[in-house]
């Protein structure tokens, strides 16, 4: 699959219908939890004696959001209804792979923080949305935000 399309593919990759007993739990989301933590860890490299108080606070806030999202995934236990379109681990992993590819190349702090924030927002929608349209819209927004950050810096 074309890598540039993976973010939207995460949203409009065919959403399979759930069968009775299908679930999405924290136990399956280790890659996503690891990704969130790795991003948070990496932001510590931005904290130096020369970092402004404002930037320091923005970095810390972003780290906190990343780790809070990881906690949300750890605690996750979605029991899909039979016939319901379900979000699968592959959707989440695809989006994170695309995001990593962009974030790793962004050098300006603000753009990095905005890109990471876009991913955290996307995960939040993915895991709480009740309509397929909301998930697709979130996937498109994520791609747009990442592409914009990539162009700026």
């Amino acid at each position: 699959m074309n890598k540039e399309l993976k973010a939207t593919a995460a949203a409009d990759r065919t959403l399979n219908s759930a069968k009775t007993g299908d679930a999405l739990t924290g136990a399956e989301l280790h890659k996503a939890i690891y990704w969130l933590n790795a991003q948070a860890d990496a932001l510590n490299n931005e904290k130096t004696a020369n970092t402004s108080i404002e930037d320091l606070k923005a970095i810390s806030q972003q780290q906190s959001d990343l780790r809070a999202q990881a906690t949300g995934l750890i605690a996750l236990n979605i029991q899909w209804l039979a016939g319901q379109a379900k979000v699968e681990v592959e959707h989440i992993n695809d989006a994170l792979d695309y995001a990593k590819g962009v974030i790793d190349k962004v050098t300006i702090l603000k753009q990095r923080l905005d890109s990471i924030a876009a991913v955290v927002t996307f995960l939040g929608v993915l895991l709480t949305a009740t309509k397929i349209g909301d998930i697709i819209a979130a996937g498109n927004k994520l791609k747009g935000d990442l592409d914009s950050a990539s162009k700026k810096g």
């Binding site: 136990a27 933590n37 130096t48 320091l56 810390s60 780290q63 809070a68 906690t71 605690a75």
Partner: protein, 293 residues
């Protein structure tokens, strides 16, 4: 004389049947209490520590940690606890109560019978029946009471032990939380405490960046946060979880042994298993105590 021959027959029957030995059941119940107390403590630790870390971030970094996810975590852990640990607590307590004759509810009818012996008095308040007969009647009733309740207790213990496969499922769920499953992925207990540790490391790095600007505050808070990380160390490195997993395994093995021969006195296999269980539960206590230092 007719009374005595009947009573003598009953006494003979009693002596031939012997008494059940509830010591093994009592011992198992006590170790169950200790183990489930340790697991309850760790469930609680995981739930509450998330909010503690959020408070530290707020105070030191001025960060809004979106405590809502700590609430989701507490909800998820609470649900797991009530469906596993709390059931095992009650299971252990019921076995203990059945093993301890003083706690067991005596048969109502036999109590009434005993009371009626005592109550046989004439209008002047004197016992209607010969005192020796009354006393013998009370002694026999007490013995019958003991036998009846002992039979009931044995049956009740047997019914509880027969549920071991359901209990095994619950203990298995609990073990997966602390130790993970056979696929080798990290258990949720360790994952979440690693989150907390990561957050505390973030705070230390923030304090490092602030140290030239606010040296006193930075130093005080760095010491505080390092102490908090020390509390997490043995939980994050998996050693507390491993001890809990070993104790849960020993507990299940003890339940298996107990269910086959609960009432046999001087039963060598049970003694060995029981000693192994006590040792594992002791190791859990030591692991958790040393994690607190």
């Amino acid at each position: 004389m007719r009374y005595w021959s009947r009573f003598s027959l009953i006494l003979l029957l009693v002596s031939l049947t012997g008494c059940a030995n509830f010591a093994a059941v009592k011992g198992f119940s006590e170790e169950t209490g200790k183990l489930t107390s340790a697991t309850a403590d760790e469930f609680r630790f995981v739930s509450t520590h998330c909010l503690e870390v959020a408070k530290v971030r707020w105070i030191v970094e001025g960060v809004d940690s979106k405590g809502g996810n700590c609430e989701k975590l507490a909800g998820a852990v609470g649900e797991l606890t009530s469906n596993t640990n709390e059931v095992l607590v009650i299971y252990g307590q019921r076995l203990g109560a059945l093993a301890d004759a003083k706690q067991f509810d005596f048969g109502e009818n036999l109590q009434k019978t005993k009371a009626s012996f005592i109550g046989l008095k004439d209008r002047e308040g004197k016992p209607k029946v010969d005192t020796a007969v009354v006393n013998a009647g009370i002694a026999i009733t007490d013995l019958l009471l003991k036998l009846a309740t002992e039979t009931q207790r044995r049956e009740a213990v047997g019914q509880l032990l027969a549920e071991k496969e359901s209990i095994r499922v619950l203990a298995g769920f609990m073990k997966v939380f602390f130790v993970g499953d056979s696929s080798g992925t990290q258990p949720l207990y360790q994952l979440q405490l690693k989150e907390d540790d990561g957050s505390l490391k973030d705070v230390i790095d923030s304090l490092g960046a602030l140290s030239s600007r606010e040296p006193i505050r930075a130093r005080e808070w760095t010491d505080d946060v390092k102490a908090r990380r020390q509390l997490l160390k043995k939980r994050v490195d998996g050693s507390v979880g491993r001890h809990l997993g070993d104790a849960i395994d020993a507990w299940m093995a003890s339940l298996d042994k107990l269910s086959s021969k609960a009432f046999e006195p001087d039963w060598k296999e049970w003694k060995e298993q029981y000693e192994a269980l006590k040792s594992r539960v002791n190791e859990v206590k030591k692991a958790i105590d040393s994690a607190r230092k």
